[in-house]
């Protein structure tokens, strides 16, 4: 059942690479956004607007997001044409393109658990650490990170798992270039389109098992640390 073709392996590699990069980038981007949403100052109106923007991918059809990214990053779009005028390539139908799409698409899944964890943490421990002489980075590493590690684990896992399941954005933006933008979900679709149900089933079942295993581990960790709930 698990004799996979080279195309399958390539798709697995692209998918894992995409999910891993997306997760790493998201942890870097989502942490300050979540902190600001949970504890930051500034007008409530601006905060609400940012919160809504972050949550947009939850309700928007992925094709809408993919469409606008295609327009934006493609050769005629503002970003794509600017890149080309600098002698670089536009980003439509590239791995970088779908990486940008994934980061935006999975943003709420990273921001929300972190925001929840930071809100639970409150400002106090950070203020205390400050009074004890810890600077910004020191406070993040020695207080925020250990006290909200459950939130980070959940955010990373959800971002990773959600990227695995991404379909619409990549379909619009990436095409299906093997080794570049052909991820598992696209390949399964292609197999099914080609009536190759055996291949589609192999990959689908593998993905199903993997997704279950990931969620099982998250919940187990969550229970042990008794931290953020999904």
């Amino acid at each position: 059942m698990f004799d996979l073709s080279p195309t399958d392996w390539m798709a697995i590699e692209v998918t894992l690479k995409l999910a891993l990069y997306t997760t790493l980038i998201l942890l870097v981007i989502a942490t300050p956004i979540a902190w600001w949403l949970a504890n930051g100052r500034g007008s409530p109106g601006v905060r609400t607007a940012v919160q809504a923007l972050v949550a947009l991918p939850l309700v928007l059809p992925p094709t809408v997001l993919g469409f606008y990214l295609l327009v934006l990053l493609g050769p005629a779009g503002p970003v794509g044409s600017t890149l080309e005028s600098w002698g670089l390539n536009h980003l439509a139908f590239t791995f970088q393109g779908i990486l940008i799409g994934s980061v935006i698409y999975s943003l709420p899944f990273a921001v929300q658990p972190l925001q929840q964890a930071f809100a639970n943490l409150g400002r106090r421990p950070v203020e205390i650490a400050g009074s004890l002489g810890a600077g910004r980075i020191d406070r993040f590493v020695t207080v925020i990170l250990p006290m909200t590690r459950g939130g980070f684990i959940v955010a990373a896992t959800l971002a990773f798992a959600h990227t695995l399941g991404e379909f619409g954005v990549i379909l619009m933006l990436g095409g299906a270039i093997p080794g570049e933008t052909q991820v598992l979900s696209i390949l399964i679709y292609d197999h099914a389109e080609a009536m190759d149900f055996d291949s589609a089933h192999r990959l689908s079942f593998g993905l199903l098992i993997f997704a279950f295993a990931v969620l099982f581990i998250v919940y187990a960790i969550n229970r042990r640390f008794d931290t953020v709930r999904l």
């Binding site: 205390i128 650490a129 009074s131 004890l132 002489g133 020191d138």
Partner: protein, 368 residues
């Protein structure tokens, strides 16, 4: 502007929030314990947060001795101000042990600035036995003592205490008060104590800053704050006197002499009174427990009969029923003793300012 006193903390700040405005321009002497007293919502915590650098009101000025903490574009963040913070709720870092918590700030304090060390602080606060415990295994009182110790171990230039006893029950409060009282005396670190509890002020403060509606109304020594009938300290629970003096060793009746011969009290022994013998101590006397006699009564069970001169007679505060009179009396050692009387007695004894009399003190509480 007058030349700034070198040993003060000067603050000038305006801050507006919906339904609240703070406007303060004052200088606190950096010696002993300064209580910021007022009802909740009067701005005392906000003032503390400005001093700590947790609020940054535009145009504000905060000068600590000759260092500008906030002035124009200068803004020194909290972690460089060398200020110890203790809040009302537990703020121990739960992922660290008690020792880890205590040493968190110590390790971040440059070695030449470390004046207080783990052993002495742990002993001072009675937490030597708790060092290996986890933060969540402590009782409320223990947690506050550890929080206090953690702040002390940074050898701060200033301690900011935001209602540190508020979340504790009466018993635990009584257990921590002595540590707080000894603190400024033994470490020499000046502190600002935010509180709305008159008993904490009476017990701990050197001077009081009264705050009301975002304004600092008055900054005066505790003695003066307790010597006027309209003191905000008396607003809710009526007038009290707090006498400062030295407690002597117990006599054969188990009574400790307190104060100089011309205003000598005898105080029943308690465990803490025994420990404090020979040290400065405070007695708290409820004005309702003091009666006035024109001549010293002979056959009366009351032990403490103190000669006084009546200074003023005012409306007694803290009453909702029929009005009573508050007699502010001066003891012969210069300290103030308050007596609460009825209008009838005042009239019958023909009391007026300058009258010599004897104060009959029914009960005294030793502030430990």
């Amino acid at each position: 502007m007058t030349r700034p006193d070198p040993d003060t903390l000067r603050i000038k700040a305006r801050l507006e929030r919906p339904g609240f405005a703070l406007d303060v321009d004052t200088a606190f002497p950096l010696e002993g314990v300064t209580a910021l007293f007022g009802r909740s919502g009067c701005g005392k915590t906000t003032l503390l947060r400005i001093i700590a650098g947790l609020e940054h009101p535009p145009g504000g000025e905060v000068h600590f001795r000759d260092t500008a903490w906030q002035s124009g574009k200068t803004f020194i963040p909290l972690h460089r101000r060398r200020v110890g913070l203790v809040f009302q709720e537990s703020t121990l870092l739960p992922h660290l042990s008690v020792r880890g918590n205590l040493l968190y700030g110590y390790k971040r304090t440059p070695e030449p600035l470390r004046r207080l060390h783990l052993d002495e602080v742990a002993r001072l606060l009675g937490i030597d036995d708790l060092l290996e415990r986890r933060a969540d295994q402590l009782s409320g009182g223990q947690r506050q003592r550890v929080a206090l110790g953690r702040a002390l171990l940074t050898s701060p230039d200033l301690l900011l205490l935001d209602e540190p006893l508020n979340a504790l029950d009466t018993q635990t409060k009584r257990e921590i008060m002595p540590f707080l009282a000894r603190l400024s005396e033994e470490t020499g670190i000046p502190s600002l104590l935010v509180t709305h509890a008159p008993d904490e002020v009476e017990r701990l403060a050197t001077r009081v800053a009264f705050m009301h509606d975002g304004q600092l109304e008055r900054l005066e020594p505790l003695r003066e704050a307790l010597a006027r009938a309209d003191s905000p300290l008396f607003r809710d629970e009526g007038a009290v006197s707090v006498l400062q003096g030295e407690l002597g060793p117990a006599d054969e009746h188990g009574l400790h002499p307190f104060g100089p011969p011309e205003a000598r009290y005898r105080v029943p022994s308690t465990p803490s009174a025994t420990n404090s013998a020979g040290r400065p101590a405070r007695l708290r006397i409820d004005a309702r427990d003091v009666s006035i006699a024109l001549s010293p009564p002979q056959d009366v069970s009351i032990l403490n009969i103190i000669p006084v001169t009546i200074e003023s007679l005012d409306e007694a505060p803290g009453h909702h029923g029929p009005a009573r009179v508050l007699a502010v009396c001066r003891q012969d050692d210069g300290q103030t003793l308050m007596a609460e009387l009825t209008h009838l007695s005042t009239k019958r004894l023909r009391l007026k300012p300058g009258t010599r009399a004897h104060a009959l003190v029914k009960s005294v509480a030793f502030l430990d």
